[in-house]
């Protein structure tokens, strides 16, 4: 593999592991703090952040490592949520069955649609992933046995061989953080491996990779499936937290929001997606309290972050971080 040795102009992601670990510790600390203060609401917020971060990290892997901008990541997320709902209706609530089911169903969807979508590039890829997500949205809205457009409450939170281990919100929060940590570290590892190197190389220069007899299509397909499966797990957790599943989970707005998280935090490192998820959840929360017109504020922050991500702001933030 020596011809690839002069790695593309992307930092090796191993450095990100420290950042990821720090972020997990931060989430855990926030959770502990919330419980210490008896704020079950704060704990719920941490849980939601961790769940969205899980979905965002998987999308970040696609965008940052493989260069595949999916505008339909809410679809596998929603499929994971529906897996919980539908399995629950058939009395299957064991978490050891439900989570793999959610992962499998979402990964399968991602595999099948990815096989077609990967034939396209750039804006076409963005739009074809959106098209597939819209299809799933309309399918879900027509499932009248499972609430149709209105959605439906899940039978109960997932169990462990009948024991209702997720009933306390604390357990769900810990599970979400643990799965986020596992996914983030797993993906970091993958990104740092030869496989990750090939993904990034394919992003930079596809022809070169093909000339070397490597098959970027297959690598990307694997990346799409894995990312989809992880989003499915996030969806399963979301269904457990909210205890309600509806097609609005698959709305393209959520796909857009996940992209916002990835880009705001920076797509080069997986930890960026976690930061992005934190920022978006907190902005929603903080602005929503002040004004009915909080979306105006959110828009200004997003636009500002894009327009002024120039040197001045970086310098300013740099000063701030160095005291």
């Amino acid at each position: 593999m020596s011809p690839l040795a002069p790695a593309p102009a992307v930092p090796r992601p191993r450095a990100g592991i420290g950042q990821t670990a720090a972020l997990m510790a931060l989430l855990a600390a926030a959770l502990a703090l919330a419980y210490g203060l008896g704020s079950s609401y704060g704990a719920g917020l941490v849980t939601r952040t961790a769940i969205l971060a899980l979905a965002a990290v998987s999308l970040s892997f696609l965008i940052g490592q493989a260069g595949l901008v999916s505008f339909g990541h809410a679809a596998p997320l929603g499929i994971g949520a529906y897996a919980v709902l539908i399995a629950g209706e058939y009395d299957m609530t064991n978490i050891l069955a439900v989570l793999p089911l959610a992962f499998g169903a979402a990964a399968l969807f991602a595999l099948a649609t990815g096989a077609i979508a990967l034939r396209t590039r750039g804006v076409y890829f963005i739009m074809i992933t959106l098209a597939f997500a819209q299809m799933v949205f309309y399918v879900a809205a027509s499932l009248s046995a499972f609430g149709g457009d209105d959605g439906m409450a899940i039978a109960a939170r997932s169990t462990f061989f009948g024991a209702r281990i997720l009933k306390p919100d604390l357990h769900l929060a810990l599970l979400a953080i643990a799965l986020l940590a596992a996914a983030a570290l797993g993906l970091e590892h993958l990104a740092a491996s030869r496989y990750g190197l090939m993904l990034r190389a394919g992003r930079e220069n596809e022809t070169k990779l093909e000339a070397l007899g490597l098959d970027p299509y297959r690598h990307r397909l694997i990346a799409i499936s894995v990312a989809g499966g992880i989003a499915g797990v996030a969806g399963a957790l979301l269904a457990n937290q909210v205890e309600y599943v509806s097609p609005s989970t698959m709305n393209w707005h959520l796909s857009g929001e996940l992209i916002v998280m990835v880009v705001l935090g920076g797509s080069r490192r997986l930890g960026g997606a976690v930061i992005g998820a934190m920022v978006v959840v907190l902005l929603d929360e903080a602005l929503g309290r002040f004004t009915e017109h909080w979306k105006l504020g959110l828009g200004l922050v997003i636009l500002g972050a894009v327009l002024f991500r120039g040197a001045e702001v970086r310098a300013l933030l740099g000063k701030f971080s160095h005291g």
Binding site: Y124, I126, H293, L298, V306
Partner: protein, 307 residues
């Protein structure tokens, strides 16, 4: 099924198609010249409807109000390009998506603060508000015929501009050989400014055309935006011809799907199953079409370049 029903459904499909074309034309031009993904295009459609509605109410004259409103949409296009969009042209697609998503949130919310969430009135002169008898058994709304006429006229004008004028030549060249055009001493940023503002006005015109049919409210651009993107991707991003063909195709598929798929299903799978599956299938149809076309032609029908 009567002839009148089929004819009126075909007219409906064409009319939806030309509205989609008006929206998609600006979008695809902007994409073609600068490789720019503008999610805020739907907002410009919404602004057009509001600006025309307000100027018609203000002047008390429909034609005058329409012209004033469109000029305002054009002016706003220039302002927005200078304030925001020109700073995004050299960024990657991801940042453009994000930045213009921010613009959607800001403009939508600002309009809501000014006009409220409730849909506003869109006055139409009485002569255009009714329907005419095209042939015995077929009454058709006059306004929808106006839309058809305006859409076809604009398509002709665009064809002329793009194929027969210097600026059109630059736009065509810019979409395929941007570096060469710049190297020849053409100020591509200035070109983008004009193309962008013109596109904003076209979107505004589409909003004004749709205004008498749909509720004019702050989020009206959301849904049309997604469909407009479907149109330009199916047609091949950057291609005006592609946008025109794809817009008519999608307008027809969507309308005829809604008109005939539920009945078709009823005869195939029975009444109750059709009642639930029908609407889902007919709303899915355009996305199915898009996925099918892209899987065969990954750059759309008329897209030469892998964008």
């Amino acid at each position: 099924m009567t002839t009148a029903l089929i004819v009126s459904q075909v007219l409906n499909g064409l009319q939806l198609g030309v509205i989609l074309f008006l929206v998609a034309a600006g979008l695809t031009l902007v994409f073609g010249v600068m490789d720019f993904i503008n999610l805020a295009h739907g907002v410009q459609y919404m602004l057009g409807a509001y600006l025309v509605a307000v100027s018609v109410a203000f002047t008390g004259h429909f034609g005058l109000g329409l012209v004033l409103g469109l000029l305002a949409a054009l002016a706003l296009g220039f302002v927005m390009e200078i304030l925001v969009f020109r700073h995004l042209t050299r960024r990657d697609h991801l940042e453009q998506v994000l930045g213009t998503f921010g613009v959607i949130l800001i403009v939508t919310e600002a309009v809501r603060m000014i006009f409220g969430s409730a849909p506003i009135a869109f006055p139409v002169p009485a002569t255009l508000a009714g329907s005419v008898t095209l042939f015995p058994g077929l009454n058709y709304p006059v306004w929808r015929l106006v839309i058809l006429g305006v859409g076809i006229a604009v398509a002709g004008l665009l064809w002329f501009l793009v194929n027969r004028t210097r600026i059109g030549m630059l736009v065509r060249a810019g979409s395929t050989h941007r570096e060469t055009v710049s190297a020849l001493g053409v100020d591509i940023d200035r070109l983008f400014l004009f193309v962008f503002a013109f596109g904003a006005m076209l979107a505004g015109l589409a909003g004004a055309m749709a205004g008498p049919l749909v509720s004019v409210e702050p989020t009206m651009g959301d849904r049309i935006l997604i469909i407009a993107f479907v149109v330009i991707v199916v047609g091949g991003a950057g291609s005006i011809k592609g946008a025109f063909v794809a817009a008519l195709l999608i307008g027809m598929v969507d309308t005829l799907g809604r008109a005939f798929v539920p009945d078709l299903l009823k005869s195939l799978v029975g009444r109750s199953a059709a009642a639930t599956a029908g609407p889902a299938l007919s709303s899915m149809l355009i996305y199915l079409l898009m996925a099918a076309i892209l899987s065969v032609r990954p750059s759309g029908l008329f897209g030469g370049r892998t964008a």
